[in-house]
Subunit: 239 residues, 6 copies
C-alpha cells in the first residue's frame, strides 16, 4: 500500500517553479512536480482571433505539447505526423479554459496571451503541472500588458492551480506519478481557484466505475493539494 | 426563470431511440433528445489495432462528427479542412472511454467494435445523446459478435447512459438545450452506469467558478436523469 | 434475367422525398431511392467565393460525402484520413454543375447556396439520388433568398433530376441498385432538366466497350426515368 | 464563325507523338495537340495494390498533373498546397479507366503499370491528349513486361484514343483549344477504342442544356476524330 | 580511374540551354547537362509576399520538383503524399537564394518572379543544372518586367551559374553524373557569379571527412566549370 | 567594429554542456552557446528503417525543432501548421549527416539512434550548437548500445563539433549571435571532426558574393573554434 516514492496519500511531490526561465517571453516558468518538468511561456500579442475582433475584449489561449523523448519511449513528433492527436488537443483546450476562468477579457482590451506549455520530461500529471506553471507565466505577461498597453484595471481576477488525484489499489492519492497513474482505477484532474472554487473537475473510471463517496474523497484531496500549490505559486511570484 | 421550452428543471426533453435504423450496420440507433438527432452505427470487425494484437483482448472505439448543416450556421467539413478539430477528438475519446467501461475485453476476443456517432441535427447535448444511443447500437453489435464468432461469455458488463446538466441563471437544470447551454455558467457532462455509478464526470466553469454544493446538486440531477434514460434504453432494446 | 428486386427493366425503385427534414437549413430533403438514403441540406450565405466577388453574380456549390457505415463494410472517414478521395471530389463537382445549370446567377445577387449531400445509407445511385434531392432543397433555399434578400426575379430557370442506367447481363436497366451496379458492363449517369434536355451524360464501359445503339437505348431509358422523378419532385414541393 | 486558328469544324490540331522521350521509363511519349504538350511515362512494377493481391491479376493506374506554369497564369503546386484538387483526381481516374478498358488483367499477372501524364504546356484538351499519348507509352510498357516477365499472352486487347468535342457559337467542333473550350456551351470528352466503340462519354452543359440531336452530332464528330488519332498512334508505334 | 562516360576529370557533360521552350511563361529554358533535363519557367506577378509589402522592394523565389519517373525507379508524387520532402525544400531554397544574389530588389519594385524548376529527367546535378537554367529564364522575366512595368534601372546585377564537383575514387571531378554521385566520397555544389565570386559553397563528406587541400582542389575545379557555363548562358541569351 | 557582446573576432560565447539532463533518454545534453539553449536527447531503438533492413548495419538520424517562444516573436508550431518547414528539414538533415560521419554502421548492428534537438531558446547558431551537443548525447547512447546489445567494437570513429562563422561589417567573426547573424554579409556553418577534418562546409552570400580569400579566412576561424569546442565536449564527457 506504500506509494512508490514513499509519500503519504495526501502528499505532493517536491514542486518547484523557476520564474522567468526564458529571456524572450513576456512571462515564463519552468515548473517541476517531481520528475515532471514543463516549460511554460506566455506571449503577448496585439489583436485577437478573427471571431473576436471588434468586441474590445482580449483572449487567452494555450498550446500543450510533449518533446519526443520526454517519455520513457520516444514518441513521434506531431509536426512530423502532420497532425495533432486527440490527447494534445484536449489538454491544450483544458489549459486555455482553466486560465480564462481568472481573466476579465474586457480589462485586457483586444490583446491575446498565448501560453505554450512544452513538456520537457514527463512523469505523470503533466497537464496539471502545466496549468500551475502557466498561471505564473500568465501573471508576468499580464503585468507586461498592463505596463506597455496602459490598461486601466487588472485583467487578473484570481489565481488558479491544478492537481491530479486518483484511486490506486483502493486508496485515494494526491498527485499521482506515472507509475501510479498507469495503474489507477479512477483518475481525476481538478482545477481550483486560489479561493477554493472549482474551474474544472474531470473524473474518469479507468477500470471499474466509481461511486459518489469515492468522488467526494478525491475532491477533498484535490482541493487540499491546490491550497498548497497556491502557496508555492505565491512564493515564486514574489520579487 | 422558466426554461425556454417550458420544462421543469429536472425534466428531460422527449427522448426517442429508433433501433436498427440502418440496414448494413451490425447495430444502429437514431437517438433524439428533443431536436438533437444523432445516428449511431456499430461496426464489428475481426482483429484489433496493432498495439493490442496478440493479447487475446478486443477493443471498442468511437468516432463522433457533425454534419455541416446540423447546426444553425453551416460549419466547414473536417474532411475539407483536412484535419479534425480538438472538440471532435475530445468527444470521440469520451464516447469510446464511456462504452469501454462496460465491456469485458477478454470476453470479446480479438475483435473491434467501432461506434460512429454522426450528428444529423444539433440542439445541445450531442455528446451525451451519442453515448446514450451508441450503447443501444453496441448491444446489438455485441449480440452479433456473440452469435457469429461464438463467444463463450457476454462481453457486456453493464449499461451506460449520459446526460448534461448545468447552472443557468443560477438554477441547476437537467438536459440543457442549445439555448440554455450557450448561457450556462457551469456545464457538466455525466456518464453513469445502469446501476448508478460514475464513469465520467466533466464539469466546467464557463463563467464564474462553482462551489462544492453546486457540484453536488448537479451530480444528483444527472444521476436521476440517467435512471430515466436507462429505462428508455431498455424499452428500445426489447423485441 | 430478372432484376434482384423483381423490377421491370424500366422501373424505378420506390422513391420518396421528405422535404424540410432539418430544422436549421434554409432548404432540406431526405431523399430515398429504395435503400439509398441521402440527406440534402441547402445553406444560404451572403457573399461569394473570392474569385467571383464584385461580379454581382451568385454561386451554387455542393459537397457530397458518405457516412462511414452507409455501406456494407465500414469506410474510413475522409476527415480522419485528412484528405478527400477522388470519387468524393468528382461527385461533389457533378452535383454542383448539375444544379448550376438551372440557376440564373445574375438574379441571385452575390449570395452563395451550398448543397450538402450526405449519404446515410448506400445501395447504388447515391449521386443521382443526391442531385434529385438537392434540387428540392435548392428550391426552398431559393425561396428563402428571394424573400429575405428581396430578389427582383427568380434565380431558378428550370428543374433538374438524375438517374443511373446501365447494361446488366446484356439488358439495359433503369436505376441500378448496388448489386446490379457492381456487375454492370456499362454504367451511365444522366442528368436531365424538367423539359427533357441534357445537363450531363457520363457513360463508362466497366467491362467491354459499348456501341452507339447501346448508348442510344440507355439515354432513352434515362430520359424516361427523369420524367417520373420530375413528377415526384413536384409533389414533394407542393404545400 | 471561323475557328480562332482557322481550322474547319471537323479538323484536328497538328498532332505529334514522340515515342521514348524518356530514358528511364519502360514506355514514354511526348504528345502534342497543337500547343498542348503532355509528357506520358509508363512505369512497370512487380506486385499490385493491397486490395488486389493474391488474385493473379495485374493493375493499370494513372496520375495526371499540370506543371505550375503550363497555363497562362501560374497555378499553385498541389504538393505545396498539400492536397490534390478535384479536377486532378477526376482526370487521373478517367485516364486510368480508359486504359484499363483495353487490358486483360489476367494476362498481366500481378504487375502494375502506372501512367504519369504531366502537362508541360496547356492549350485545351489536356486530358484527351494524355489518354492518346499514354496509350503509346502503355504499349511499350506492356512489351517490356511481356519480355522481362515472360507473359504467355498479350495483355493488350485493343487500342484507345480520345478527343474533345463541343458546341461553340452554335457550331459543333472537334478538338477545342483553350480559347474555344472557355466559351463552349457544351463540352464533351469521348474515349474510343481502335475499332470505334465507346469507353467513356462525358458531356456537360456549360451554359444551356443540350438536346439529343446536338449530342448525336458531337458523338459523330468525336468518333471520326479518333479514327485519325488511331492512325497517328500506329505510325508512332512503328519501328 | 576513367570516368563512366569517358570524360576527363575537369570536363563538363554536353550542356544545352533551349531558351523560350514554353509559350505562356515570361521566361523559360529547357536546360540539359547530359541526360539531366530540367524545365525552368519564370513567372512575373505583381505584388510581393505579405511580409515584404510596403517596402517598395521585389522578391525572387523558386520551386524545385521532380517528375515521378524522372529517375530510374518511380518516386511517389509529393502532391499525393500530401507533403514536400526535406530534399525538395532544401533545393528550392538553394535555387531561390542563388538567384536573389544577383538581383537588386529596389530596382524591381513590388513584383515577384517565381522560378519553377521541374526535373523531367535526372542523371545527377539536377540542382546545379536548375540554377544554371533558371538564370536564363530569369533574364527574360526581368526583361519583361522592365518593359511592361517601366522599371527605371536594371534589377539584374550579375549572372549566376552552378556546378557540382566531387571526389570519386580519390580523384577530384567536375559535373558528376548520377553514377559518380552515388559513389562519391565528397560531394560539393558551388554557385558562382559571372565574375567568379562565390554565392554558395556546400560541401559534404559522404564517406570519410575531407581535408583542406581536397576542399581547395574542388573549389578550383568548380570555379573553372562555371566560367564555361557562363559562356553557354551568354550564347543562349543572344538573339 | 566592436562585437555587440564585446567579444574579440575569434572568441566563442560562453559554452556549457550539461550532460544527462534528461532521465529517460539513453543519452542527453543541454547545450548552451551564450543565450542559445538546445536540449539534445538520444534514443536507442532496435531495428532500422525499412530501406536498411537486412543489411546488418545501423542508422543514426536527427530531428531539429524550435519551441514556439524560443525566439523573440512567437512562431507558429509546425504541428499546428500540419507541415514541417524547409528550414527545419534542412537543419535536421544536416545534423543527421554530421553525426553519421563519425559512425561505423556495421559496428552498430541493426539499431537506430535518433537525436532530438529541441531549441528552448534561440540566439543564433542553433544548428551548430545542436550538432555540438548532440555528439555528447550520442556518445552516451552508443555506450548504452555497446553495453546492452553487446557490440563487439566501438561504432564511434571520431568526434564532431560545429560552429558558425561570418563576415559582419567586413570583419570575419566566430560564433555569431542572432544580432550579428541577421546583418552578416556572408554566413558559414562548418562541421569539423576532432582531428580537424571537414564534414560539412556551408557558406552562403547573404548580401554580396564573397571571394576566395574571405572563404579561406572563415574556414581558418571555424577550424580553430572547433578545436576549443572539442575540448569542452571532452570535459563534459568525463566522469
Amino acid at each position: 500500500m506504500a506509494r512508490p516514492d514513499g509519500r503519504t496519500p495526501n502528499e505532493l511531490r517536491p514542486v518547484t517553479i523557476t520564474r522567468k526561465w526564458l529571456r524572450h517571453a513576456e512571462g515564463s516558468a519552468l515548473v517541476e512536480f517531481g520528475d515532471t518538468r514543463v516549460l511554460c511561456a506566455a506571449t503577448v500579442e496585439d489583436g485577437v482571433p478573427r471571431w473576436r475582433r471588434g468586441t474590445g475584449e482580449g483572449w487567452v489561449t494555450a498550446e500543450y505539447a510533449m518533446l519526443p523523448r520526454s517519455t520513457d519511449t520516444r514518441g513521434a513528433r506531431e509536426s512530423v505526423k502532420g497532425k495533432i492527436g486527440g490527447r494534445t488537443h484536449e489538454i491544450s483546450r483544458l489549459i486555455g479554459r482553466s486560465l480564462r476562468a481568472v481573466i476579465d477579457f474586457k480589462a485586457m482590451g483586444e490583446h491575446t496571451i498565448t501560453l505554450d506549455c512544452d513538456v520537457l520530461q514527463a512523469d505523470g500529471g503533466t497537464r496539471t503541472a502545466a496549468i500551475t506553471g502557466a498561471y505564473v507565466a500568465l501573471v508576468d505577461a499580464v503585468k507586461y500588458l498592463r505596463k506597455h498597453r496602459n490598461l486601466k484595471r487588472d485583467p487578473l481576477t484570481g489565481s488558479v492551480s491544478a492537481v491530479s488525484v486518483g484511486i490506486v489499489q483502493g486508496q485515494s492519492r494526491l498527485d499521482l506519478n506515472y507509475l501510479e497513474d498507469s495503474v489507477a482505477q479512477t483518475d481525476m484532474n481538478v482545477v481550483v481557484t486560489g479561493d477554493g472554487q472549482f474551474i474544472e473537475v474531470q473524473g474518469t473510471a479507468e477500470g471499474a466505475p466509481f461511486d459518489r463517496s469515492s468522488l467526494d474523497g478525491l475532491l477533498d484531496l484535490a482541493v487540499d493539494g491546490c491550497v498548497r500549490l497556491t502557496e508555492i505559486q505565491k512564493k515564486a511570484l514574489v520579487g
